[in-house]
């Protein structure tokens, strides 16, 4: 693992854009892959695996949102609603037509992409604040539609039970099987996003983020790429919704309300805008935060407060900490956990020298 670079020796753009900038990166990735694919599912028990599963689902959604917000510079406060579109589409296909998950999952994603692209249409004329409010409106309208049209939402409390995803006739039921199932999607999501951002499309997204008028002048079709960003991002969101639905075994709009949209925005802000690693770190952080608060309050809360007070405290404390963290990262470390990680890494890379 000990290595030292002696300078930037890249002579081609191809080398500069490579997924593995150094040979050692290949080994690191292999080590992480072995850890998560083989060791983790065998060592950890059900409870920890269930937390990891939630993190995996969040990672897919956070990467998707980061493609839109972090890389393309458009804002969406409606990603929770796009997730619900994916979730209900897949649930309807799975229950009414008996589609297996490998059909209903992409269908859910595609439907979310379609809805997302429609919501993205105003992004050509409006930006920033106005776009944020437009996507907020989309969140409420989609929620309302799902809630009021029973042929979408299945009637009773707007929820549809879905069958367990099955592969070769074997139903994926336990947390451990679910872990492997979700891991596949996380890996696909990460690799796809990393490669997308190295491609022509990804560079166009970044150009639009940095200066959209200039991007248009150098020949990027802004409207097309903005819609594409909305579609890709919503596809990720839709898949997230489907995965969550299969994970819970039920599609319910309450899992995808405005608070979820804000959770995902918080993930990418805390993790780092415009960075895949940041999305992953942010998803881990935001998923673990309520779990950590609950654990902490249940372990130590009764030293200070009565039991009833602790129950009142946990959700409110979560909101407060959550908001404080968002503001803290925005004010103090705008590039998020990703930047912190890079600082640490760069320090040790040249250690014991200063540079």
């Amino acid at each position: 693992m000990i290595h030292r670079e002696c300078g930037v020796l890249k002579t081609t753009y191809r080398a500069d854009m490579a997924l593995y900038p150094l040979p050692v990166a290949r080994k690191t990735v292999a080590a992480i892959a072995i850890l998560f694919a083989l060791i983790v599912p065998l060592v950890l028990d059900q409870y920890y695996l269930s937390i990891l599963n939630l993190i995996f689902i969040a990672i897919v959604g956070a990467i998707g949102l980061n493609i839109l917000v972090g890389y393309t510079g458009q804002i969406s406060v409606g990603h929770g609603a796009f997730m619900s579109v994916g979730a209900y589409t897949a649930a309807n296909f799975a229950v009414r037509l008996g589609f297996p998950f490998w059909l209903s999952l992409p269908l859910g994603g595609l439907m979310a992409a379609l809805v997302g692209a429609i919501v993205g249409i105003p992004s050509l004329r409006i930006k920033g604040l106005y776009l944020a409010i437009a996507t907020l409106a989309a969140q409420f309208i989609i929620e309302w539609v799902i809630n009021h049209f029973t042929w979408i939402s299945g009637g009773v409390q707007a929820s549809i039970e879905v069958p367990r995803p099955a592969l070769f006739g074997h139903a994926i039921a336990s947390q451990r099987e679910m872990y492997v199932f979700l891991l596949v999607f996380v890996v696909v999501a990460i690799v796809a996003a990393l490669n997308l951002m190295r491609s022509r499309i990804g560079r166009a997204f970044i150009a639009i983020r940095d200066q959209d008028i200039a991007a248009q002048i150098i020949g990027i079709d802004i409207f097309r790429y903005k819609l594409l960003a909305f579609a890709i991002s919503s596809f990720y969101a839709g898949v997230t919704g489907v995965l969550y639905t299969y994970y819970l075994g039920i599609a319910n709009y309450e899992q995808f309300q405005i608070g979820v949209s804000i959770d995902y925005l918080a993930m990418i802000i805390i993790g780092g805008l415009g960075s895949i690693l940041g999305s992953i770190l942010g998803a881990i952080f935001v998923t673990l935060l309520p779990i950590a608060i609950r654990w902490f309050m249940e372990s130590f809360g009764d030293l200070l407060f009565s039991e009833a007070a602790v129950h009142n405290l946990i959700p409110n404390l979560r909101l407060i900490l959550f908001g404080l963290l968002i503001i803290f990262f925005l004010v103090v470390e705008p590039e998020g956990l990703n930047r912190l990680w890079r600082n640490i890494r760069n320090y040790f890379r040249v250690w014991p020298f200063a540079y």
Partner: protein, 297 residues
Amino acid sequence: MFDWQFLLLLISNGVLLGLMYSLIALGFVLVYKATDAINFAQGEFVMIAGFVVAVAMGAYGAPWWLAAAVGLVGMIAFGFGLERVVLRPLIGRPTVAVIMATIGLAAILRGFGPLVWGAETRPLPLPISDEPITLGPLLIPPIQLLGAAVSLLFLAGFSWFFFKSRKGIAMRAVADDQQVAMAMGINVQRYFALAWGMAGVVSALGGIVWGNLLGVDVHLSLVGLKVFPVVILGGLDSIPGAVIGGLIVGVVENVAAGYLDPLVGGGTKDFAPYMLMIAALMFRPYGIFGKRIIERV
């Protein structure tokens, strides 16, 4: 036979309710006009103001005027402090950062209110009667009349402030171009603080009026969600726009709820304003009175 009286009742209620929306929308517009920041925590401001006033009256037995004064002063101080701690470091950063900061702030306030003052709904009694005033076929609740009056008063006051007073003109200069304003010797940061302080005043009044109408608990902050359609329709940076937008939203949601709710089973009140807003964004994105933004590289 078309029931004219029903429609008239819906419209008159909508007008009064709309003016009360305008009051909260004013806080929003003030901040945007002066600082180019959007305040997603406006509803939470109103909630906190309502809490302060209701607690001062309920738990400490203060008379209503003292409680209202405490609420006003508290919200002004809160506006100033907020600008100093959160918004000032974000000057010059992308819009997403400011939006997210106020969303984070909203989360903090929504957790803070119930944490400190409890989750139960508190009454906010004002010394006016609950009996609706009968005016021909119309029934008008006095609190809505009061809210509408306060709203119109502030509209007039802020219009005067922005167009006639020295400070107001300076604030418009800041909104127009911060660098040029600085070059003209205007202390930009002071005007940012002033704008947030003024938003605090409006929120305090909104908190008193809406708190009386709905009762004070965490759901009071949902009023803030109605502000977005109002300001988009009227134009984000226009004070008359806030009032006209408020009137349109108030009337449309009341009439739509009156006629459509029985057909679709409720919820139209929350849905109709957003449909209206989407239409406005598609066809006239800068609202009725909003300033068109011309972009250059």
